[in-house]
Symmetry: D2
Subunit: 257 residues, 4 copies
Amino acid sequence: GQPLLLIGGPCALESEQLARQVAGTLKAICARLGIRYVFKASFDKANRTSLRSYRGPGITEGLAILSRIRHELGVPVISDIHDVSQVDRAAEVLDILQIPAFLCRQTDLLVAAAETGKPVNVKKGQFVSPWDMENAVNKLRGAGGSRIMLVERGATFGYNNLVVDMRSLPVMRSFGCPVIYDATHSVQLPGGAGGSSGGQREFIVPLARAAMAVGIDGLFIEIHPQPEKALCDGPNSLPLDGIEPVLAQLLRIRAAL
Amino acid sequence: GQPLLLIGGPCALESEQLARQVAGTLKAICARLGIRYVFKASFDKANRTSLRSYRGPGITEGLAILSRIRHELGVPVISDIHDVSQVDRAAEVLDILQIPAFLCRQTDLLVAAAETGKPVNVKKGQFVSPWDMENAVNKLRGAGGSRIMLVERGATFGYNNLVVDMRSLPVMRSFGCPVIYDATHSVQLPGGAGGSSGGQREFIVPLARAAMAVGIDGLFIEIHPQPEKALCDGPNSLPLDGIEPVLAQLLRIRAAL
Amino acid sequence: GQPLLLIGGPCALESEQLARQVAGTLKAICARLGIRYVFKASFDKANRTSLRSYRGPGITEGLAILSRIRHELGVPVISDIHDVSQVDRAAEVLDILQIPAFLCRQTDLLVAAAETGKPVNVKKGQFVSPWDMENAVNKLRGAGGSRIMLVERGATFGYNNLVVDMRSLPVMRSFGCPVIYDATHSVQLPGGAGGSSGGQREFIVPLARAAMAVGIDGLFIEIHPQPEKALCDGPNSLPLDGIEPVLAQLLRIRAAL
Amino acid sequence: GQPLLLIGGPCALESEQLARQVAGTLKAICARLGIRYVFKASFDKANRTSLRSYRGPGITEGLAILSRIRHELGVPVISDIHDVSQVDRAAEVLDILQIPAFLCRQTDLLVAAAETGKPVNVKKGQFVSPWDMENAVNKLRGAGGSRIMLVERGATFGYNNLVVDMRSLPVMRSFGCPVIYDATHSVQLPGGAGGSSGGQREFIVPLARAAMAVGIDGLFIEIHPQPEKALCDGPNSLPLDGIEPVLAQLLRIRAAL
């Protein structure tokens, strides 16, 4: 089969130096391990819990950084789009366009993304059943999209909690799309820290192992050199310097299937 | 206290004639009953389950119809906004701007809505706890918004089902905002009908009675002369010709508190 | 229609004096208000969170107290049964046998209860859908039971939380059984206080109003002269000296339907 | 570490011949694979959805069959207990006493089980959080129990559905007890088939792989020579003749950790 895909990087673009450090280090690790690597960081976090939260450098500076990562480091890049007005600019730079989970039912955004001809990675809404994601796939295909990936990132489970229903992975694979497991946002505690969302870092690796054992095409992990200092999603990011043995273990599980 | 507020009308704008019929009839009923009335219909349904679903006349024609309802019938109007680019145009016509539930965490949309100075009605996301809606209120207030209403429309409860947690009504009222109960979308079965969402019309009135007995400031009900022929949300709309006794009963419950 | 039924009293039997005080006071209040009254207290709390929690006086002493309440105060009595071995002894004293929610699928207990010929009040399990309670009704009817009541007491909603799905009330009424709303256990936070369950007293009355407005046949409320000193379920009990205006308001809502 | 434990067999005891066939075959397979094996079948299914469902041979005949399996085939045996009155008889025969999920909070049953000195295997209630299972452990330890196992079998997720929260496995292991993953009941659809519960056999193996990758001490699987003819839980049982490669794959995942 295909080698594993890793979509990884800091949650939000902080400095260009940090982005280069993460992209370069992960590129080298993935080359050693036989993993396809795509750098991910958001240029704008459009749905932070609070007005005062860090949002990123914005689309102009953000895409410029991502473009340099792509051309100078030779690493494909993915980022979130939130609005039809961003789609064309983003498609000029990004290798893959990502639709955030809250926006996975916004028809115009899906259609605009599909019309660029770029691959589109749709995160399953926390409020959507796995089988209903076929409606998102159909919207994309109806607009000419042919390279579509779907992401599991947890389902609403009472208040301020998500649960990963591992059944979603084979269900969504049955639509004929690669399925990515988002190991970071699946352990988010939405709104669980008052003015921001909390996270359960201790469950990132066990749940990633579980998803790998069920069967997935790729992994999404937010990775930061110093998660405790990350400007976004630190509580559910993994440290860069510990990632290689984690990935190696996940590959051993994949090989055991 | 304040008289009850009714936000009512067809889910989507269909013909202008139908909009006038509903607005005029409800205006007369509400005048008889002592209810403040606001006409609601969407100019664009941006998150339908399928590409082939009816979306409405679009922003230009839709706002024109709403403007005529407002000026010629003397009925205040509310409609959904989905995108920052729509906000200013919508604010020129609408009395109240409504933020759809899926978009209740989109910071830019909330900020743009607040900056118009118009009242903003935010629907609680199906994936948001009642207390976390205070974050939406804080974003609006932080951007200068002062007239804010919040809407209960059901919380994700397993797959393809919503549950109304009536505790949300006093929780959200405690933020100092009027709270509206959306009797229509609370009985939606998301994705429950394959390529579209289903609904449980039989529970609209019992749950509206419940919300009224808990204590609310207003009701949101989709009302159509022929719900079975509605182009959107028919299964959870109420028929126009049966609405007056329903409202009268709800007012009796309110008077009993 | 029938007058409202109130099942009320302290969660567990504490002293006989306290039981008499509550039963006598509630009898008088219900007589004034036109409510049918049944005294409830458990002789044994068989599923407390911790071994060290208060359980009650046990079946022998408990039934003796309940018998004296019944004969000396002229108040019908209901209590929980947990085990087939308790059923016959309990049926000699109690007017109604109550099946706890966790045990609502235990076939032998249901059958034994039905075979006594006494009315049986089955609490809906937190893990059971409203429509599946028809299976409990069918078990009771299959064993000769004809006077069956069903109770809503909240459904599991994520961890350490319950939600009341008010749709359950008409669903269960459709089986041809009177439906009781348990205003006390519906606001329990299971396991929410570490070694015991917590409760949200502030929501008891709003949710009881909601259930009344939906339409119910009876109410179950734990009532204690000093809830803060109750040996069980204090956080979700109401104080005896404030109950009359609460009941009066609930009757006004009922009259408004 | 310890070799993997397999608790396996038909849901309910049907004929002795079938029990011997399953126990003998699984004993041989587990010997080849290096798995510790315990035969499981219920002598009584005390909480079937309908009165007409098959319940098993009852305690007297059931324990006699289990005793012969144990002594003649040399296979340890486990079965459910439902009532304090069954505990001593069951403890004379069984190697491990199992507490059903619905009964995991019944203090007397837990205490009686612990007092036999036998190992006790407690299934986590569908309505209980993983951390609250520490209360069950504390009840058992408080009654002298020292060999305690805990079982994940899915959590209530809306109506007629369960979800496996894989986070529960490390949470429950942190209490110092071996943790078993019940691959059969985790894919049950409670009440999902009208008068009986449905099941999703296609998810048994993927979820078992996931649990194994997270880290567990044992597996519980209902295994039947002809699941489609099983008198109980057929839809979520695995066929006996396909089990060896499934177990072999699960061991490969375990070895990859």
